[in-house]
Each structure stands twice: as structure tokens, then as C-alpha cells.
């Protein structure tokens, strides 16, 4: 990985620093690693400057703290990424909402699938 990308990622200020244990990054679930990688990959591709993302993350964390929310670090990271991708016009809010619903329906469908063996049609 490009040193400057790693520098940007690894050197965020204390208030928004990535959780580590014993020097290593900690992901509580696979999606956390995924959303981490997603933000880094987008930045690497030039989709946004890292300081845009880190500012958004700072804002999300600050407002979450102010509201006394119990959201986790990566939940706030995800919100910041939403904010940045829509703010930078990479995605439209509508698209995200629609796609989220599709993915959710898919997940529910698969969950309900136990024991069924009739053919079904999936959305593309």
C-alpha cells in the first residue's frame, strides 16, 4: 500500500483514532473490516481527500457523543462514509436507500429459506 495512504489512515487524531489492541486494528465483526476497507479503497482511488472523510468522522463522533448515543466506532465511521459519498456526489441518497432495502429483503428471504425447496426468483 502507498505509504501516504497508510499515513493518512494510521495517523488520525486521538478523538477519531482507529481502535487498536496491542498495536493492531480491532474489528468486532466482518462488516467493520469491510467498511474500513471501503473507505480506504475509495480514498486510494482518489474519490475523496482523507481529510474530508476524517472531518466527517470527527463530526459524527462529536454529535454521537453529544446525544449520548451508544453507537460503536465503526457505526459512526459508516455514517461518515454515507455522508461523504453523498456529499461528494458519488452516490445519491435514494440509491442507497433502495439498495439497502434490496439487500435487507434478500437477507430476510435467505433467512426464511430453511426447509423450503421450491424454486424462487431473485432480484438482480
Amino acid at each position: 500500500m502507498d505509504q501516504s495512504v497508510d499515513n493518512a489512515v494510521s495517523n488520525m487524531p486521538e478523538e477519531i483514532a482507529i481502535p487498536r489492541v496491542n498495536g493492531e486494528l480491532v474489528f468486532e465483526s466482518p462488516w467493520e473490516a469491510r467498511v474500513f476497507g471501503l473507505a480506504v479503497a475509495l480514498h486510494e482511488q482518489g474519490a475523496f481527500e482523507w481529510k474530508i472523510f476524517s472531518q466527517s468522522l470527527t463530526d459524527e463522533i462529536a454529535s454521537a457523543e453529544k446525544e449520548g448515543e451508544s453507537s460503536s466506532y465503526y457505526e459512526r465511521w459508516l455514517r461518515a462514509l454515507h455522508h461523504v459519498t453523498t456529499g461528494q456526489d458519488l452516490l445519491a441518497t435514494r440509491e442507497i436507500v433502495d439498495r439497502t432495502k434490496e439487500v435487507q429483503d434478500q437477507a430476510d428471504h435467505e433467512h426464511d429459506d430453511h426447509g423450503h425447496d421450491h424454486p424462487h426468483h431473485h432480484h438482480e
Binding site: 496491542n22 498495536g23 493492531e24 462488516w31 459508516l78 439487500v103
Partner: protein
């Protein structure tokens, strides 16, 4: 969307961005992998795991640390020598730099602030057992606690003892239980 399962949200986000050609899933995989396995103390962990399973590698590592870690492609940016010392039941090694903050960057990444603190720098050499206790490690008096003060350009790393009960583990699994603290010598590797 505030109450959505974040895993669902993440998947939705990724799928859209991949569709638009702004990222690839493959690159995301690589990034996650490099942060989980490569950047920082995971390098040292790989070295330790190999030393645990491969006696010849361990022998090479203890004689010439710099060359042995170069076999993984790990090098110190200033070309510093690396000396790896082995923890046994007789000797427990612990690394410090009382004069500044020298640290085995090549295998452990950046040092945590506590390693560079005045408290650690001053106390590690004169009361190592007390310091270790603060880190949650108590050693019997029969084990010598040996503090390595990195006062030259040689960098030190500790090869922690392989914990009991890990015989069936693969090299990759073993790397997963080696902690950065155990490679500085303020902790031990523990069988999960």
C-alpha cells in the same frame, strides 16, 4: 436508516460503489488483509510463529535477526541490526530505550506512547518486576528478568515462549496469538 443493521448498510454501500466502478471488492479485500496481517506488529507475529514451528528458522533468527526477518521481506528503513532474544523459563527479556525511544520498527511498527513515556524509560531498568506486574505479568523469582536497554543502533525484539496447548495450531493461527506486548517483553503469548 439509523436503525438498520450496519452489515446490511455496508453491503449496500459496497455493492453500489463497485457497480459504479469507484472501487473493486478485490482491492477492499487486499486492504483489509494488509491491515490485519502486515502493517504493524503482525510482522513480528509472523516471525515468531515461524520460529515456533521451524527450529532451523529459529536458529537463524537468534543468530542474525536482520537477515532472518529479511526472508519475509521486512527491513528496517535505516538498515539497523535486529537482535532477537528468546524468553525461556530461566530468562525473561524486556526491551526499553532509557535515553530516547528506540524501538524495533521493522517488525512492530510504531511504538505506543507508553513505551516512550518517562515512566517506562526510567522504571523499566530499575524495577522491571514491578513494571511487569502493572502490565499484568508476574514471574517467579527463579526466572531472571533481563532488561535490554537499546542504547545503540541495534534494535531488540523478544521471542516469547510458545504457550502450552498450542500443538495443533497452524503457523497462521499461531501468529494470531502473538501480541505486540509479548514481543516487547511486557506480556506473554497466551493460548486462547
Amino acid at each position: 436508516m439509523a436503525n438498520e443493521d450496519p452489515a446490511i448498510l455496508t453491503k449496500a454501500l459496497e455493492s453500489l460503489l463497485v457497480e459504479k466502478g469507484l472501487v473493486t471488492s478485490g482491492r477492499i479485500d487486499e486492504i483489509v488483509k494488509s491491515y490485519e496481517e502486515d502493517i504493524g506488529p503482525m510482522r513480528g507475529a509472523q516471525v515468531v510463529a515461524k520460529a515456533w514451528v521451524d527450529p532451523e528458522y529459529k536458529a537463524r533468527l537468534l543468530v542474525d535477526g536482520r537477515s532472518a526477518i529479511a526472508e519475509f521481506g521486512f527491513t528496517d528503513p535505516h538498515g539497523a541490526e535486529l537482535v532477537v532474544t528468546e524468553n525461556t523459563d530461566d530468562v525473561h527479556n524486556m526491551v526499553v530505550c532509557t535515553l530516547c525511544s528506540c524501538y524495533p520498527w521493522a517488525v512492530l511498527g510504531l511504538p505506543p506512547a507508553w513505551y516512550k513515556s518517562f515512566a517506562y524509560r526510567s522504571r523499566a531498568v530499575s524495577e522491571p518486576r514491578t513494571v511487569l506486574k502493572e502490565f499484568g505479568l508476574e514471574l517467579p523469582e527463579s526466572t531472571e528478568v533481563r532488561v535490554l536497554d537499546s542504547n545503540s543502533d541495534i534494535r531488540y525484539m523478544v521471542l516469547p515462549k510458545r504457550p502450552a496447548g498450542t500443538d495443533g495450531m497452524s503457523e497462521e493461527e499461531l501468529a494470531g496469538i502473538v501480541t505486540r506486548d509479548s514481543m516487547i517483553g511486557v506480556g506473554e503469548a497466551v493460548c486462547p
